[in-house]
């Protein structure tokens, strides 16, 4: 076990982010007066440099994948692209959240530290090639998120949400760890993903324990993705946490959860496809029905988006599921990845819009708060219209192409009934998205306060909204990226 410097260069982004976390912590301790703004800008800088490092790694290394640290760490296209998307969504989330936190006197440097820590956790999780590393990443991400959810510690709602998330999240982590231990036992001590892959496909080994372990893993993944029946925390936590944190929860953490599913199910356990397929089928069907029906009756837009997120993740898993059929191949995974990225883009804009409408002492979290937005500010009403129609899966927006990508592979895999269920549920889903458009366009405003948001928030939100409109017709490149990311995933 010799130390090799080339190992470090592969993990340069992770090392850099970790160092920056320490640097920010020290700076904040010594430079009191300017700590707030400084912490924000240093975090953004960290993420920007991380983008460069990862892009550099993509361009520099010709190989499809490299292993480091005794095969515990893997650098591949899947990881690189997902990490890039995580950086970007974290950057957007921090930018959206800044003014919101300042209004509520929450813009302490701890917020940015925790945000970077959770990012680091996601990065570790995404690049893990070893069950223990995967678990460390998962825990690092989750622990930082628990603290973030409870960040508004003086309000009962935020602390309650933090408590709920922590208790249930700890249980889910326990499930994952328990599942991992069973896999470890059933495969004669394999922890490396490729080793598990081999051990599972060989006829030896205890299948019962293996399957039991799989059940726990699927439950843990479902919890992190927030799909039914492991969804109970989603609406409460989305509603209770400060919107700046909900932004992170609903975008970057979903991308990381997707990576978790990819690493565990697609890379380590493709030998059990026949088993996890059935479990996912159940999870998907329940999520679609429950997510959409429950979203119908919500008056709180954060809860509504939480339920809609449950159904979106169900939709995303349909692409994942399709890859279980040999006729589809890995294109199902790549279409699911496209869906997850498209969803992150949409949900960032949706919660960003809530931040935009909120102000000091006022949370724009009821659907009625969107009343007459078209009269108050036509441009942002139009952007919110883009977001809503995109989420409903209406063309030309990116949501439609995401839906199309998933439905194509689903039908190719032969799940006609699931496709019919999915379109019936998206019809129901269209209702609550249309209702927001109705409030914005058909009703007169009850609240005429001018929108007081910082210029950077307005510009970023505009870019985000326009991207939702344009990335649909121009989704070709992103789809090719996702496809190339799956090259190394053995079917």
């Amino acid at each position: 076990m010799s130390f090799d410097v080339s190992n470090l260069s592969l993990a340069a982004a992770e090392v850099f982010v970790a160092l920056m976390i320490l640097a920010i912590m020290l700076t904040a301790a010594f430079v009191r007066g300017i700590a707030r703004g400084l912490a924000y800008w240093l975090s953004q800088l960290t993420l920007i440099v991380a983008v460069f490092i990862t892009s550099f790694t993509i361009m520099e290394t010709g190989s499809d994948f490299d292993f480091a640290f005794n095969n515990m760490f893997v650098r591949d296209k899947l990881g690189d692209i997902l990490k890039l998307m995580v950086y970007l969504s974290m950057m957007v989330a921090l930018l959206y959240g800044r003014g919101y936190l300042a209004d509520r006197k929450l813009d302490r440097h701890e917020y940015y530290l925790l945000a970077l820590l959770t990012t680091l956790g996601m990065m570790v999780m995404i690049t893990a090639n070893h069950l223990l590393v995967l678990y460390i990443g998962l825990e690092m991400m989750s622990l930082a998120l628990y603290a973030l959810v409870a960040f508004d510690r003086d309000t009962t709602r935020s602390t309650e949400a933090g408590m709920k998330y922590f208790v249930l999240g700890a249980l889910a982590s326990g499930l994952v760890l328990y599942g991992m231990s069973m896999i470890y036992g059933a495969t004669n001590g394999a922890l490396e993903l490729s080793a598990i892959h081999e051990a599972v496909t060989s006829p030896e080994g205890n299948k019962t324990v293996l399957l039991l372990g799989l059940v726990f893993l699927v439950a843990g993944i479902s919890f992190k993705l927030g799909v039914a029946p492991f969804h109970m925390w989603v609406p409460d936590v989305y509603q209770g946490s400060p919107t700046a944190v909900t932004l992170i929860l609903s975008s970057a953490s979903k991308l990381a959860a997707f990576a978790l599913a990819m690493r565990l199910l697609a890379e380590a356990l493709p030998g059990l496809i026949g088993h996890w397929k059935t479990m996912l089928l159940f999870v998907i069907a329940v999520s679609l029905v429950l997510g959409n029906l429950a979203a119908l009756i919500q008056h709180n837009i954060k809860r509504m988006l939480a339920y809609s997120g449950i159904s979106h993740m169900g939709f995303m898993l349909m692409g994942f599921l399709s890859s279980a059929e040999a006729s589809v191949g890995t294109v199902g995974y790549s279409n699911a990845m496209f869906y997850a990225i498209a969803y992150a883009l949409m949900t960032l804009a949706a919660f960003g819009m809530i931040v935009l409408l909120s102000r000091e002492g006022f949370e724009a979290e009821n659907i009625e708060d969107f009343k007459g937005l078209n009269s108050r500010n036509p441009w942002f009403a139009l952007l919110m219209l883009f977001v809503m129609f995109s989420m409903a899966g209406i063309p030309f927006f990116v949501g439609f192409f995401a839906k199309l990508s998933v439905l194509t592979v689903l039908l190719k895999a032969g799940y006609l009934w699931l496709a019919v269920l999915a379109v019936v549920m998206s019809l129901i889903g269209a209702f609550y998205y249309l209702r927001i458009v109705k409030f914005m366009y058909f009703d007169e405003p009850t609240d005429n306060a001018p929108l007081k948001a910082s210029g950077e928030l307005q510009i970023m939100l505009s870019i985000n909204g326009v991207a939702i409109a344009l990335l649909g017709p121009m989704s070709g490149t992103l789809l090719e990226w996702c496809k190339s990311a799956m090259k190394t995933v053995g079917g």
Partner: protein
């Protein structure tokens, strides 16, 4: 001339024009928004004229596709930006671009609230509609088809009547339900043939059991749009609540999308299933013609009456298609174009009255001819055309379809022909109650006759209605080759169905 991408221009000029109009912003710039909208609409129509002039009448091939190789749009889905029109779709592109001008002029004064958004919605929708009629790629078609719901939803909901929210939601959800099934059918066809090219699908020979499923997906998707009898209920609501311009576009163009879908998708792609369930479509069409005719008779709201008469007339169209003969299909196509002019004109006439009295109830009117003689004359012409009087456009289509029906079965022709009586009854009875008689109340007494703007757009439509009634040749000559090809394709494939 054919290397200028006229079709792309016809699609994108209105859309980009609409975005520009949107950019004029608040109502203080309303005048600029109106002028820009009118210019865009005229320009959009102008680029469609060469389509007619340079149209090759001797071929059933798709034309104006622009070059040999279509543009690859999204490689991952094998989706192409593939356009083209034949004799079937040519007139709809023209009709749509023409009606956009009328709608912009009609909304000139009657819309005072959010003018830029109003005009932009119509322009963008017009571009999307042209896209629907000229798309030859399944996904491209679907993208235009479903995207066109958004502007119409907003038009009904923002500028509509008191019950507009209900109507807008009903409209959107009904049509979305249909189009989602269409999406599944399109994806299924893609998995079957490995291509989204509609013309490839035409030649594909879908297995028999799949044909039935796809046929029903098409039936619901396009039947909602037509709308066919049991799923037509969104239309009267949408019509009643929509602003005048919205009703015009809805009746003149949006309803044609369903019928167009039948002829572009259902008949050529799943001919055997069409044959199998012909009784169903013919039956539903006859119910629409006869039963809805009676329903129209009972209406007290003018817009609702014309809406039901639209359902009845569109029943004629679906009937004509499913006769599977040249007369039936051509007659139905003529009926579609004629209905575009006539129903559009009817809604405009009602809009003229509504702008002045703010009521659509027949009971609130009477003796309008005394105060609005010029208007009464126009209204008379359009009412006659709606009733299918010879020498107007309404007659040509209906008569041809009845002739076609006679070739199939006497009883079908007989039932279809009742429309000539029913149509005359409900239209002329309404006309009598609104226009003739003593001046009913003070509001009618205080009416002013149509102004120059209204005179202009009504006379444009009157010209079209008369021209089409007196000399339909320019309308039909471009269709022959394409319809012939379609009939051969449909009947030919029924005999040589792949056995599965």
């Amino acid at each position: 001339m054919t290397d200028i991408p006229f079709l792309s221009l016809a699609i994108w000029i209105p859309i980009f024009g609409g975005v520009l109009v949107l950019a004029t912003g608040p109502d203080s710039n309303a005048r600029m928004a109106r002028m820009a909208a009118l210019l865009t609409a005229i320009l959009g129509f102008a680029v469609t004229i060469p389509l007619y002039l340079y149209f090759d009448r001797n071929t059933a091939e798709m034309q104006f596709g622009g070059g040999e190789e279509p543009l690859l749009w999204i490689e991952h889905f094998k989706v192409y930006y593939r356009l083209g029109i034949d004799g079937i779709s040519l007139w709809f592109v023209l009709l749509n671009s023409f009606m956009t001008i009328i709608v912009v002029i009609a909304g000139w004064e009657s819309t005072q609230k959010r003018v830029a958004q109003y005009m932009a919605a119509f322009l963008i929708m017009s571009g999307l509609m042209n896209g629907i009629f000229s798309a030859l790629d399944g996904v491209l078609f679907y993208v235009f088809f479903e995207a066109s719901l958004i502007p119409l939803y907003l038009i009904i909901g923002v500028w509509g009547g008191p019950n507009r929210v209900y109507a807008a939601f009903k409209f959107f959800l009904f049509t979305l339900a249909g189009s989602l099934l269409l999406l599944l059918a399109i994806i299924y066809l893609f998995n079957l043939t490995g291509s989204f090219d509609i013309l490839v699908w035409h030649k594909a020979g879908v297995p028999a059991n799949a044909q039935t499923l796809i046929f029903f997906a098409f039936l619901v998707a396009f039947g909602v749009k037509v709308p066919m009898w049991p799923i037509h209920t969104w239309l009267p609501d949408a019509h009643v609540e929509a602003p005048t311009g919205g009703s015009v576009v809805l009746a003149a163009i949006a309803l044609k999308l369903g019928a167009y879908g039948f002829i572009r998708f259902a008949l050529p792609i799943v001919p055997a299933a069409c044959e199998d369930y012909r009784w169903l479509v013919v039956g539903l069409s006859l119910v629409a013609v006869v039963y809805i005719g009676f329903v129209a008779l009972a209406q007290t709201d003018m817009k609702k009456l014309v809406a039901y008469s639209s359902v009845s007339h569109m029943g004629f169209v679906t009937l004509g298609f499913f006769l599977f003969n040249q007369l039936g299909i051509e007659g139905a196509l003529i009926q579609m174009i004629s209905h575009g002019f006539v129903s559009g004109a009817m809604f405009l006439c009602i809009g003229v009255l509504y702008d002045r009295v703010h009521s659509r109830q027949i009971g609130d009117y009477g003796g309008v001819v005394n105060t609005m003689p010029k208007f009464a004359a126009f209204f008379m012409l359009f009412a006659m055309a709606n009733a299918g009087l010879p020498a107007t456009s309404g007659f040509v289509g209906e008569f041809t379809v009845i002739l076609g029906a006679m070739q199939v079965h006497f009883l079908i022709a007989f039932l279809a022909a009742t429309t000539l009586i029913l149509g005359a009854a409900y239209t002329l009875w309404m006309y009598k109650r609104v226009v003739f008689g003593e001046v009913a109340n003070e509001k009618v007494a205080g009416l002013t006759d149509i102004n120059r703007r209204e005179f202009f757009f009504l006379s444009l439509l009157a010209l079209c209605v008369l021209a089409m009634g007196l000399y339909p040749f320019p309308f039909t000559e471009v269709m022959h080759a394409s319809v012939n090809h379609l009939v051969e394709q449909v009947n030919g494939k029924m005999l040589t169905l792949p056995s599965h």
